[in-house]
Every structure is written in C-alpha cells, then in structure tokens.
Amino acid sequence: MVDEATPELLRQRQERVKRMRHEDGATYNPFDAPDGRGIPYALEMVPVPLTTEEWRHLEQGLMQRATLLERILADVYGPQQLLKSGLLPPELIFANPRFLPVCHGIRPAGGRFLPFYAADCYRGSDGVFRVLRDYGGTPVGLGYALENRMVISRIFAELYHGTQIRRLAPFFRAFQTAMGSRALSRREDPNIALLSPGPESPIYFEQALLSRYLGYPLVEGPDLTVRNGRVFLKKLAGLEPVDALFRHVDDRHSDPFALRRDTTLGVAGLIQAAREGTIDIVNPVGAAFVDTPLLSLLLPRLCRHLLEEALVLAGHGGLWCGEEEGRREALRRAAELHFMPALDDTAAIDPDPRRAVAASPLAVMAREAVMPSLVPVWSEGGLAMRPLLMRLFVCASEGGFTVLPGGLGMTAVDVETLLSGVPERLASKDIWVLSDEPVEPFSMMSGLHSVGDFRRSSDLPSRVADNLLWLGRYLERAEGQVRLLRAIFRRLAGESRPEDIPELSFLLALLQAIGVTVPLSADRRPDQAALALALDEALFHRERAQSVAAVLKLVQTAARNVRDRLSRDCWRVIDRLEDFGDGGGSDPLELLDNTLFSLSAFSGMAMEGMTRGLGWRFMDMGRRIERALHQTALLRFALPEEGMGRPYALEALLEVADSIMTYRARYRTAFMTAPVLDLLLLDESNPKSLVFQLERLAGHVDLLPRQNERRYAGVEARLALEMLTAARLVDITATISTGDASSPDRQLGGFLDSMAEKLLEFAQQLSAHYLTRVTATPHFSHCAGDHGP
C-alpha cells in the first residue's frame, strides 16, 4: 500500500486522516486552547499488521493474563489467601495506595472482578511479545482504537474491504451482551450508563464516542445520586434507577463520600451501593490494584500457583527493592537499570537510585531498558521508523474473556516519550489483525447516531436539559448579534459616505439591543474612529460578555457539555464557529455572512435532525426565550428614534429582525409603521414575531414532565400564558392612530419593558423548577479530647 503510492498522495491521505479526526471531534478541548495542547493519540495513517499466528498467541496470552488478574483481585478483596500463604508480599497490599480497604469484602454485583482490562504490549528485538503494563482501573484508549478504525477504513476503503481484516464490532457486541446480561440478572430492562469525569477530561471524546457506540447515556457525577443504597439518575421527571455503570472516573475520585472528599467527579455513596450489590460497575472500584507495577513481577509465580500453567505472555520483568535479593542486584546494576515506583506510580521517586532505595526500598523497582521494535510512521518528511507500543483490550464475556482483534498502536519520537504515556505526546495507529478465514461484515454503526437515553423513556438528565437550554439561547443570541452587525457593515461597505446613509444612525441606536453604545457627536453623527472601535469590540472582544466572539465561545462550551447529544454533522458546524476572529484582518462582512450561514446550518440541522424529545424542547425554549428578548429589545430601542416611521428605518428594522421577505410577501406595499409592528409583534404566522415565540413557549411548557398533573400549575406555565395573553391584547392600530411616530413609544414601550421582565422571570422559574443543582459539602466531627492529667 505504502509502496505503490507517491509521496504526494500519501501526504494528501494523511491530511485527510487529520481532518476526519478533527471533524469527528477527537481533538483536545478544541475551544480553549487551539494551539496550546496537542491532540491525544493523533492518528497516523499507516496501520500495524499482525498475522493470524501472532494474534493467536497474543489473544491466548491476554485471556490467560485477564483470568489470572481477576483471580488475584478476587482474593485481595476477599479472603487474602495469597497474602497469608506468602505468595503476595504484604507491602503490595498494606503499603499500596491502589488497594482500597473500604472496598474489601465487596462482591461485585455482576460477579466479575475484572470485566474490562487492557495491557500495553511490545515486541522486543528478539521478536517476542511482552507485556509492559496492565490496566484494570479505568483502561483508556478503547474509544480511540474505535475512532481510528472508522477513519482508516474510510481512507483505505478498498484495501480494507479487499483484505481479510478482523472487524472490531464483534468485541463491542460481546462487551454489550455481557454487561447487559449481568445487569439483566437482577432486573428486567436494566439501565446502563457511562460515567464520565466531564468535558474537562482530555479524553472526553473517547467517552462520548463509546457512550454513543455502546448506547449507554453519558452521565457525570452530579447527574447521579444514591438513595436507599441504589444509584439513580436525576432526570427532569424524577429519579430513575441505574443498574450498571461503565466507569471512566478513576478509583480514587469515584466516591467523595467513602474516599476523597475534594472531588465532585464521582458519586457520593457509589461504594455503599456496590456493597449493597445493587449496581454492576465496570470496573469495580478498587480494580486499579491491577495497575500496580510490582504486581507484574509476581505473575509468573502466581500463574503457576493459581492456574497451574506457565505464563503465556511474559512481562517485561524487573527487580523489586523491597526484597533483599532484588535490592542488592538492582543496586549492583544501578548504572544500566531504570528505577521506577513499585507501588504508587503517580508519586515520583528520587532520581538517584541509591537515595530512592534508602528512602523507602519497598516503593522502588528497577527494570532493564524497554526496547520496542520500530515500525514505519508517516511523518512530515516522509516515512520514519518509530518505537511502537500496542494497547490491547479484553472484556469479560460469559465464562471467560473476549479480546478486541485490533487495538491502539502508540508511537512517539523516542522511547522515553512513548513510555510517559501522555496521550497528547503520542501518535496512534490502527492495528490490523489479518484473518486466514473470510471476515464476516458486521457493524454497529447504525446505532452510532442515536441519542443515548435510557431507551424506553423520553426523560432527560437535568444537567443535559440545562446545557441544551443555554445552547439554544447562545445560538440565538449570536444570530441576533450577527444579523444586526451585518446590516451595519453592509452599509459601511458600500460606496456612500456614512453621513449619506440615512438609516445608519437608526441602526447604530439598535446596537444598544446587543449592549453596544456608539458615542455620537453633537450633530448625532458617529465619530469614525469611535465607531470603528465599537464595532471591532462588538465582534471580537473576548472579555466583553456581549461580543460575537464571546457568545460563540459560550455556544461552544454549552455544545461541548452536551457533545454526545449532537450529531456529527452538528459538530462539524460548531467546529467551524471555532475559528471566528482568529484569522485576523479578514473582511468583517464576509466573516459575518459565513458565521450566519453556519448558525443557520446548525439551526436547520437541529430542527430537522433532533428527535422531538425533551432535549430538543429545552433547546427550542432557549431559542424562543432569547429571540423574544431580542425582538423586544430591538423594538424598545427603535421606537424612540427620530427616524422611526420613515421607510428606510422600517426597512432596516425588518432586515435586522429577519422579516423583510415576509413583509414583502404579505403587504406588497411601501413600509408603514402599523403593518411592520404588527408583523414583528403579533403576526402568529411570522416565525420571528414575538407572539410566535410566546406561543411556542406556552406549548413547550405544557408538555414538560410534571409531578402535578394540573395544567398551568407551575409558575413558569402561568407566566407563559400571561405573556401570551398580554401580547395578543396589544392593539397596534389604536396605539398609532395618530399617525405620529412618537406616540407608539409611550404605550408600546411600557408593554415591551414588562414583557422583557416577564421573559427573564420565566427563564429563571424554568431553571428553578427543572434544572436546579445543589452543591455538596463534606462534614466531619473533630476529635478534640481535652483532658487534663
């Protein structure tokens, strides 16, 4: 494949790989620091091939290793026979922060101590595969392996489909089936969720992708609560029990009640629920014991003892300084060995081996340098050879384990970087396992685009509803700003001098609706420099809460928080908004046109593509609230203007309110105040009118889940009705009967002011009713024994 292609073609392909990965959203928090941080596991296109024989060996070895490690976990968190019989050094348990005493004695609800496992393997210069590290807490990389396969199989579609390469989907189906049947054994129609630390996680992409692919809703710690020893998901209509969790929050942060208190990532009471056996956690809290580096040195002996067979896949090996013999040998060969933590690999040891060993011998181990074999990598300059680690994944299946036929190939510029394991410093590759039999085409892609809620219910986690509401509001706010600014830039871009554009000062007055005030000179003409500055700030100022750039950033943050709810297409559009203002020196009019186009594309996709569920409802309510507020504000600032009532001003007003086409179609007349106001305020068929927004809000509120069955019982429902009635009662013709432009101001002004107030109150009530989040605080009793002798 590589041989046949020209360098130019390869370059193009690698470029496509990069773009597809980016569009899938597999980048590190793309909104905050576009250049500050790298992309985790950046995909490089040349796959790693493994032959059928090689794979058979690896597969057999990994299944054995998973079996062995699961037996060890069950013993360590149970009878501790291995400790008592001297097969495990006591330090491995007693001095190991990865052993959690609070989890001792808990039997996992699903009966499996290690339902999910990963190992980093490499091929040595002797051609033998060895295991370098084991992961049992929260193995990372499965989502990237999946994403890589999706991209590479598209790029090399012909090659991929023409070669017998084992598919990944059957593994995920096995994972799903096993998890489902374990949960099913306790309750019919079980609810399974994926627990994520949230969008701040550098590998949030992976969690969102797995959530979708497996069909487990993505939840965060604050979404869950424990009642009566059970875990529940907080939803709009109430609490829904959770039977199983695919956990991506590490052991130490998974329960702020039983473990660390300085965290909000986990679920307070999770361990108590595990103790009660009401939840199957993948993996059970405490399973990160498997990750202890020292453990791998003991596996040959433990394998013979527990499984009565030799270890199929050797580990890298090493010497433990907690034992006399190992310590002596390690120090004798100190110059050639690499010293590292034996127990807590998050804590650094002294770089001087002798000092490190003197400080705490049991915390130190030494191993020979790792020399992984090199593989070809496509880099800027062409092909290069780089060291490779393969992260391979195993899941529990009925009666045993299933291995993913593939994995995450990891490369880096040098071995040291590779071993650091920092996702942003590594490049990744797809791993192709060749099959000697025809491969059955099988895919789970069909399920990928569905929104992951517990399927039988239309209900929604409160946090998600909250973010969708704000996403709708920010999108609409951005659109209103862009429309208004575009109207101004369009006029300034023409050939006329500003003072020759009659509606310019009117439009500049409307800018107050988006929080911008342009200082005017005595003759009510804008000062050129001040105008340019104000417009530039309105566009780009990142600190200014109301600038287009700032609001677009809020759009991205809100979107990121509900990333798993949005389709890939929606994501592409959101990604486009990312670059707003970064280009510098680009034509503002063109920029605004493009932005408006992207925003409209997003709205269109959201309108057409989102299920009409509660999520869509909250997002639409956000839009309606914001649009109603914007239209109200526009009119409020338009009415007192001198030019109001003149055709050019009315036309400009219709333009920024996005109703000019409707007006022309409806009235076929010159611009007149009464029909314009009627169209913007009361026309129930104009999707931009105030009444239209209010009708939609009232309709939504009526269909929200409620504890109380009475209609319009909630404050927000009453407010929605009140606003709608008040708007319908406005008599435009009466208010402007004098034909005088200043008259509507007083009467309509009062109405608009009270409308704006009510809209804000409505938004507040909606949040209070459905979206309230409370903070948790820890409390202790302090031992203060005060005793004189």
Binding site: L83, K84, P90, E91, I93, F94, A95, P101, V102, H104, G105, T225, V226, R227, N228, G229, P256, F257, A258, R261, A268, G269, Q272, R275, E276, V774, T775, A776, T777, P778, H779, F780, S781, H782, C783, A784, G785, D786, H787, G788, P789
Partner: protein, 291 residues
C-alpha cells in the same frame, strides 16, 4: 469499671439539606478488656436508609442516609461497657525495638502479619525526615520497645501544648511537629508516625475517657469529648495502648470504640450533605460511671 457514654453530634443547616449521607464509628468494640453491655444509635430525623457492617479492621460502622429535606441532624450513641485494666507489662522486659522490626519483617505468626499493616504510611500519617529524627531520640539502639514508646509519649506530652484552635481534621503530622500544638488526634498521629518511621506497627484508637472534676467541683454533664490514642504492637504481648495527650497508660477509664491506620479510617462521624448552606456543629459527650 461500668461506664455509660452518651455522644451526640448535632448539625444545624442555614438552608434545607436535601440529602445527607453519613458514616459513623460510634459503637464500641468488644475487646479482651472491654465488654459491651449495650449500644444504641439514635438518629433524628429518622434516616430512610441504615446499614451496619463490620469493616476491614473489625470495627462496627453504620452508614445512614437522610433523604428528605431537613434543617437539623442529630446523631446520638449511648453505650454501656464494662472495662478492666490490661495486664501490666514491664516496659523494660519487652523486646529491643530492632528485634520487633525484624520480627514484623519476617511475620512468621499470623498476628504479626496482621500487625504489619499498621507499620506503613497511611492517608493521614506520612513519615517525613523530621519525624524520623524526632523519634530516634527515644529509641537508642537496643532499647526495649515499650520503654522507648513511653519515653516518646512523655516527650510529646512535655514538649507539645494542647490547643483546640491549632488544628483541624486535616492537619498533617509535619504541621503538628512544626507548631508543637494540637489536640488528641494530632498527638496520636504524631506518635504513630514516629513509631512507624522506625518500622514498628502502631494503630490509631478512637474512643472516650472518663474525666473527673477537680476536687470539690461538681461533674459537668456533656463536658467530655471524643478521644484518641495509640496502640503499639509488642510481639509475644500483643497491642499495648497508651495515651500521649495525657501521658498515661490506657486503663479502665478509657472506652475503646474503633481502631484503624489513622483518623480517616475511624472518624466518629463523617458525611456529605447536599445543600444545607453553612452548617454549625455541636458535640456533646458524657461519660459516667455506673454503680
């Protein structure tokens, strides 16, 4: 000695708390020198969920959750125990401390292996170089282990002042060593850190101490507090408890509730509350001798 202890922990919240999860270690342990005659836990408001278990260290732990809105939470434990003095051990007759370390390292006996887990660093007891240096002065080479421990206790008692304002539940051993102030929990942690720095096994014991009023004064009800001290593992003897806050051996007036590696394993009351705003805490402990 027959003692009754009543221990109340009461929280008041400035705003309604919606969910309160708590774990309490308030039920005394049965030991060779302590018989538990009765022990009762009273919780207000009545929790919707209550769970009792024997934990990893053999203590009795209760987890409870109050799941409806509440502005107050009170936890009261009332227990009656019959205590007796531990058999006297002659400090000078115990093994030299180096031999104890060596015995622990070999852990040939089952209780030596069990004791070994109390010889390593734990969440609140981290051994630093200063601690090692402080401990070394009480343990010259060849000194009998219990004699060294009692000397250490005397030094802590003499060189540190009791100060309720000096520490919080999170205060580290290093901070206590630097400030020379603290409460029983801090002194216990310091003594444990010192003993572990030598390779000895020491555990944290949580409990109560009956206090007697100064001569001629009436006994004040509720003036007592929860207490904490240290136990040292001495091969061939077992665990020997001593109280560095008061520089005294642990005797009949001490009530043992629970033990662990440090405070974090056996905090009498700990929890997480959702909402509640700011909270105020009131603790009342009353130990009386019966008959």
């Amino acid at each position: 000695m027959r003692l009754r202890v009543s221990h109340t922990t009461a929280y008041s919240y400035s705003a309604p708390a919606s969910l309160s999860q708590n774990e309490v270690y308030l039920t005394p342990r049965q030991t060779a020198t302590q018989q538990v005659l009765s022990s009762e836990l009273q919780l207000t408001p009545q929790p919707e969920y209550l769970h009792r278990r024997c934990d990893y260290f053999g203590n009795i732990a209760h987890v409870f959750m109050v799941q409806q809105g509440h502005r107050q939470l009170a936890v009261t434990a009332v227990s009656e125990v019959l205590t007796s003095a531990a058999p006297a051990v002659s400090p000078q007759a115990t093994l030299a401390w180096e031999q104890v370390v060596e015995r622990l390292g070999r852990h040939a006996a089952e209780d030596e292996l069990a004791a070994l887990q109390f010889s390593f660093a734990s969440p609140m007891v981290v051994v630093e170089e200063e601690v090692r240096a402080y401990a070394a002065r009480s343990f010259p080479s060849g000194r009998a282990v219990l004699a060294g421990a009692l000397d250490l206790m005397g030094r802590i008692y003499g060189e540190f002042s009791y100060d309720k304002t000096a520490s919080t539940v999170e205060t580290s051993v290093g901070e206590v060593l630097a400030s020379r102030r603290g409460v029983c929990q801090d002194f216990a942690h310091l003594a444990i850190a010192c003993l572990r720095s030598l390779g000895l096994a020491a555990r944290y014991v949580s409990g109560y101490l009956q206090t007697l009023p100064p001569p001629g004064r009436p006994r004040l009800v509720g003036a007592d507090a929860s207490h904490a001290w240290v136990a040292l593992y001495v091969p061939d003897v077992g665990w020997v408890d001593f109280d560095p806050t008061n520089n005294m051996p642990v005797g009949e007036s001490h009530i043992t509730v629970a033990w662990g590696r440090d405070y974090s394993d056996v905090a009498p009351v700990k929890g997480v509350v959702m909402g509640g705003g700011t909270h105020t805490l009131e603790v009342r402990v009353d130990v009386v001798q019966l008959g």
